[in-house]
């Protein structure tokens, strides 16, 4: 092993960290106590700590690539033994100690694992092995996840807060699955996906408010409108590729948001639309005192009114919508159109030479992805009861895309894991307060290092050997 190259590499990383930390951590502006104006406080000690952390961290990462388990284990032990007491003195940053311990533990476990797995260290087919694991997870954990999701509202540990969180996560799972059709299967990088979510939400809000249609009547309409917008956007831009498509869709997302913000007579402008009708259960509202002649949910079932009924209902609603999205995607992958999406992502020229019309194929992917966003948007509107352009900013598109990419483009279970990780887990880390984003960032960096192709970058063949005969549809 080339120790000098490793040290040089870690030194370089530390230097970059120093250049970044000096202005960002080294100087802090604070208010004069009592007086007017601000003064600068220097924190060079903290700068030194971060530089050392980066140096050690980079070294540890490089060591992990080394096909032996001793150096990383040694390194991890040194970090724990020497580093911990040192860091303890920095009592106001307990979280850093915490991160260092976790990182060392990960390194130690990983190196020990390598020890037991030496056979395949050099040139092993990482992809195949991961593929087996992912296929296994997909086959066994899928049903377990669904079962868990179904009984989740009735678990004794499930509070109102957790239920709300579950709804939030499921909404993103659904959006992730929808975007997965566009990005994961068809390979069209769409940075403006939230626009279709917005179209769905506003369609529902306006139709329900102005025409008095029920949620179930509005839902298909919202999906239809969103799909329509997908086609409108797709038609001119689908000739573009990769980066160019990404930029145009990004622009489209912003256009929709800005139009909604400024067209006050239509969308309520920045004030949004409030008192959007809430969904009802087979026509029975969730209301303590329903108007004359209307039976409400609790009256019909002869139970006491509880505000939680509606939450549980919403939870199952989004669960069903998400599962429908999932099974639709799983089915369509086995149909010619779904296969054509995947082929198109790989090689457009070959596809054309096989008689596929690329424009129509991409347009369908775009429209179907948009339709699911529209459904999710309608759900969002009825759940919140209030929508405004603020809910549909670019960051939403970015989060949904991150879920798809992190999950491993095209992997359905991966989307679930990533949504839980990106939406659910940060909620739990609220205690970390200002370090929440730090932990989040560290997690992202870790994933990109160990799973550069996503958590579950595995593709299930759409046709199995046993179906080979007569499965040409």
């Amino acid at each position: 092993m080339d120790v000098r190259a490793l040290l040089k590499d870690a030194g370089l990383a530390a230097f970059v960290a120093f250049m970044l930390a000096l202005p960002m951590i080294g100087f802090q502006t604070v208010d004069f106590s009592g007086g007017v104006g601000i003064t600068v406080v220097t924190r060079f000690g903290d700068v030194a700590i971060s530089v050392v952390l980066v140096f050690v961290g980079r070294l540890a990462l490089s060591l992990l690539q080394y096909p032996s388990w001793r150096p990383p284990l040694l390194m991890a032990s040194v970090v724990v033994v020497v580093g911990l007491p040192l860091l303890k003195t920095q009592a106001h940053y307990p979280v850093i100690t915490w991160l260092a311990v976790i990182a060392s533990a990960v390194i130690a476990v990983r190196s020990a694992w390598l020890h037991f797995d030496v056979s395949g260290v050099v040139g092993r087919d990482e992809n195949n092995r991961m593929g087996d694991a992912a296929a296994f997870i997909g086959r066994w954990f899928g049903p377990v996840f669904v079962l868990f999701a179904v009984i989740f509202p009735f678990l004794p540990t499930t509070s109102r807060y957790l239920l709300d969180l579950g709804i939030l996560v499921l909404t993103y799972v659904m959006l992730g699955w929808g975007l997965n059709v566009v990005v994961g299967l068809a390979g069209l990088l769409d940075l403006g996906y939230v626009a279709f979510y917005a179209v769905g939400a506003y369609s529902y809000a306006i139709i329900a408010r102005d025409f008095g249609l029920t949620f179930w009547a509005c839902l298909p309409l919202a999906g239809l409108f969103a799909a329509f917008f997908g086609v409108i956007l797709g038609f001119p831009v689908l000739r573009l590729r990769g980066d160019y498509l990404a930029i145009v869709t990004l622009g489209f997302g912003e256009i929709i948001r800005i139009v909604l913000l400024n067209w006050a007579s239509f969308s309520g402008g920045p004030n949004g639309i409030s008192s959007i009708p809430r969904p009802s259960f087979l026509g029975m509202p969730f209301h303590p005192n329903p108007p004359e002649g209307v039976t409400s949910f609790h009256q019909f079932f002869n139970i006491d009114f509880s505000a939680e009924h509606r939450i549980v209902f919403l939870y199952y609603l989004i669960l069903i919508l998400a599962l429908v999205t999932n099974s639709f995607t799983l089915r369509i992958r086995k149909l010619p159109i779904g296969r054509a999406w995947e082929a198109l992502r790989e090689d457009e020229i070959a596809c054309r030479a096989l008689g596929i019309n690329p424009t129509n194929t991409k347009l369908t992917a775009f429209a179907i992805g948009a339709m699911f966003a529209g459904f999710a948007g309608a759900f969002f509107a009825t759940r919140q009861g209030f929508i405004s352009p603020e809910s549909f900013s670019f960051i939403e598109s970015a989060v949904i895309l991150a879920i798809v990419v992190l999950g491993g483009m095209g992997s359905q279970i991966g989307v679930v894991l990533a949504a839980v990780l990106l939406i659910g887990v940060p909620e739990f880390f609220r205690e970390l307060a200002q370090f929440r984003m730090l932990a989040f960032g560290a997690a992202m960096v870790g994933i990109m290092i160990w799973r550069p192709r996503g958590l579950l970058a595995h593709r299930d063949p759409s046709i199995r050997l046993s179906d080979a005969a007569g499965a040409g549809r």
Binding site: P336, R339, E342, A343, L354, G355, G470, G472
Partner: protein
């Protein structure tokens, strides 16, 4: 069956083909040989409609296809195994064949698979393997097999011998002869490997700098002094 009449093609202001005339009759193997950059691939791609011919006409079974979009041309009965194979590497062998059958009647799928596996038994053994993990020769076989899945009447092959060991080249060429002799498939074969191609073909054309400079039967061209000097000397 395929008549290319005075076709010119340009990339921007670079003209790659200058009034090329080529005729492929039903049941023939016709080869087009030429050095690197002569315009062979360009001619095949022009037949498929991308890029478009800037002059001349392309007739397939007496219909002018020079203005049709690529996917329609394929539906009319022309299939291509493009240069560089262009298989879908993340998909399995079987899925690649399914993609090839896009324009075919689904009822024939099983039967057509069997036909491909009979021509290339190794593909049958590797049905469930990811195509990207096949060897170069197997990938070329898959590319040809995929093209056959659409039940074409005219098969266009662009340098199937590219980068393959002589043994494999022989095998692939004998399969090409097979499908021509047994099934009567019409083949338009583009090659740099002039010796094998001319031995296999009924007729051949020599393309240089975007122009047809010689034509004749395979045997005539093999015997031709200029052809020998330009394309065959040096160990073929």
């Amino acid at each position: 069956m395929l008549a290319i009449r005075g076709v010119s093609t340009s990339y921007g202001n670079i003209q790659a083909l200058h009034g090329v005339d080529v005729e492929v009759r039903k049941g023939e193997i016709v080869t087009l040989i030429g050095a690197n950059g002569a315009g062979k691939t360009t001619l095949l791609m022009t037949v498929c409609g991308k890029p478009r011919a800037t002059a001349g006409r392309i007739l397939f079974e007496d219909r002018d296809i020079s203005m049709s979009p690529t996917f329609e041309i394929v539906r009319m009965g022309i299939a291509q195994a493009p240069e560089g194979r262009r298989i879908f590497s993340r998909m399995t062998v079987l899925e690649n064949l399914q993609m090839g059958a896009t324009v075919a009647d689904p009822a024939h799928f099983g039967e057509d698979c069997e036909r491909v596996f009979k021509l290339f038994p190794i593909l049958g053994e590797r049905k469930a393997q990811r195509a990207g993990t096949l060897s170069g020769g197997e990938q070329q076989m898959l590319s040809i097999g995929r093209a056959l899945m659409s039940r074409p009447r005219l098969l266009l092959l662009d340098e199937p011998s590219l980068g393959l060991a002589p043994m494999i080249v022989k095998q692939i060429f004998s399969v090409i002869r097979d499908i021509n002799e047994r099934e009567g498939m019409t083949v338009f074969l583009v090659e740099q490997n002039a010796f094998h191609a001319l031995k296999l073909a009924h007729r051949g054309y020599v393309l240089a700098n975007g122009r047809v400079v010689l034509q004749g039967t395979g045997a005539e061209l093999l015997a031709n002094r200029e052809v020998r000097a330009a394309y065959l000397e040096g160990g073929h």
